[in-house]
């Protein structure tokens, strides 16, 4: 059977779904983790998205680049779950907090990389201070390596906005890494 036949419907839906989605599961999990900063939660988010995607198999099969498409679906679901809290008297969204516990463990484990990890922890913490729109762009583009075009498509904004957000976010991150800033704000 040719690959195209496989995707067009000869194979069982379960097998087609698995073949389409499986290569991107790690990417989805990692992206979910970047957004939730919690690995158990990232797994549940991916699980939830997969369950909702299965009935959309034909749509998925017709997609040109499934990777960014799946990340977009994941992003929409994440926004639905975590950010649509307009009616709440307390807060309008769930705070994004750097997963410090993860870095703490890593820092104990990997003494050799201590300096690099420390800087990365500082950067990750600095992401807390960014508007979520800027942070999304940094996570997708700089951390996970999506192109500016893909980021624009995933977040449904234009490429110019992606680039200007990146530019401004990096400026802020640069300040966070300046010597002195690290010790002052993040003594532990």
């Amino acid at each position: 059977m040719s690959l195209m036949q496989f995707f067009r419907g000869r194979a069982a839906p379960q097998d087609r779904f698995t073949a389409l989605v499986r290569p991107h599961l790690r990417l989805m999990y990692r992206m979910a983790y970047r957004w939730t900063q919690n690995s158990a939660e990232a797994e549940d988010l991916v699980q939830d998205v997969l369950t909702r995607l299965f009935p959309r198999l034909e749509e998925l099969a017709a997609v040109d680049k499934p990777g960014p498409w799946l990340v977009k679906v994941l992003y929409r679901r994440h926004v639905d779950l975590y950010r649509r809290r307009v009616s709440s008297p307390i807060d309008d969204s769930v705070h994004w907090d750097s997963d410090d516990a993860f870095f703490r463990e890593r820092l104990i484990d990997e003494r050799d990389d201590y300096r690099r990890l420390e800087l990365q922890r500082t950067l990750n913490r600095a992401l807390e201070g960014l508007d979520e729109g800027w942070r999304d762009v940094v996570l997708l583009h700089d951390v996970e390596g999506h192109t500016a075009l893909e980021v624009a498509e995933i977040l449904e904004i234009n490429v110019g906005t992606v680039k200007s957000r990146l530019h401004r976010a990096r400026k802020k991150l640069r300040i966070a890494l300046q010597p002195g800033t690290i010790e002052r704000s993040y003594a532990c």
Binding site: Q47, T51, H95, D97, L117, Q120, R170
Partner: protein, 207 residues
């Protein structure tokens, strides 16, 4: 060395930069900025992330299939409910700060009031409170962890913890976990003796 040469050498990511490059960076602010951007880009690009649990891919796919034997651990609406639980710190006022009531030296009371906001009622939710070694709950001795069941009604639910600080000064973090039908949510409430300005609500890890 000109800017183009400098950028080229920076891109090479050498362990040690040449004296020429360093001299150029010392006098060229543009290239210094460029070098810093490159450094940040590399740090971000290699930002670590934990691995998913073993067998995650197989389990996740199996659970997504209709009539699957492998039941998804959490159903969509439960995940949504857990994710939309919010915690706000209403009050974390160190009493010993008030001049009228000087603090006893060993133990200071710091009642922490939080509001748990849920979009729907959660009956039989499990609430678990974990304390760091420098905090205790009045009336609970040295217990580091407390757990009880509660019915949370839709809207705001107030929870007041009679926290005592064992040592004055320093920071501490109370962890409050809410579990309801398999969906979990975790909140970290920072408590800092000596100031009440850290009472920003900080819901963190969910599920």
């Amino acid at each position: 060395m000109d800017c183009n040469q400098a950028r080229r050498e920076l891109e090479l990511m050498r362990e040690q930069n040449s004296a020429d490059l360093l001299a150029h960076l010392r006098r060229c602010a543009d290239c210094r900025e460029g070098a810093e951007d490159l450094r940040i880009a590399r740090l971000l690009r290699t930002m670590p992330a934990p691995e998913p649990a073993e067998d995650f891919e197989r389990r996740a796919l199996a659970a997504a299939m209709p009539q699957s034997r492998e039941r998804s651990r959490v159903r969509g609406w439960q995940l949504a409910t857990a994710a939309s639980l919010l915690l706000a710190v209403l009050m974390a006022v160190p009493r010993w700060q008030q001049p009228a009531a000087p603090a006893p030296e060993a133990v200071a009371a710091l009642p922490v009031s939080v509001s748990l906001d849920t979009p729907r009622s959660l009956s039989g939710a499990t609430i678990q409170v974990s304390l760091p070694p420098n905090l205790a709950l009045e009336g609970y001795g040295d217990a580091r962890q407390l757990q009880w069941q509660a019915d949370l009604s839709a809207g705001a639910n107030r929870l007041t913890l009679p926290v005592q600080m064992r040592q004055t000064g320093g920071e501490a973090e109370i962890v409050i976990r809410i579990e309801h039908e398999g969906a979990r949510r975790e909140f970290r409430v920072p408590v800092q003796a000596g100031s009440a300005d850290r009472s920003r609500p900080q819901p963190t890890t969910k599920i």
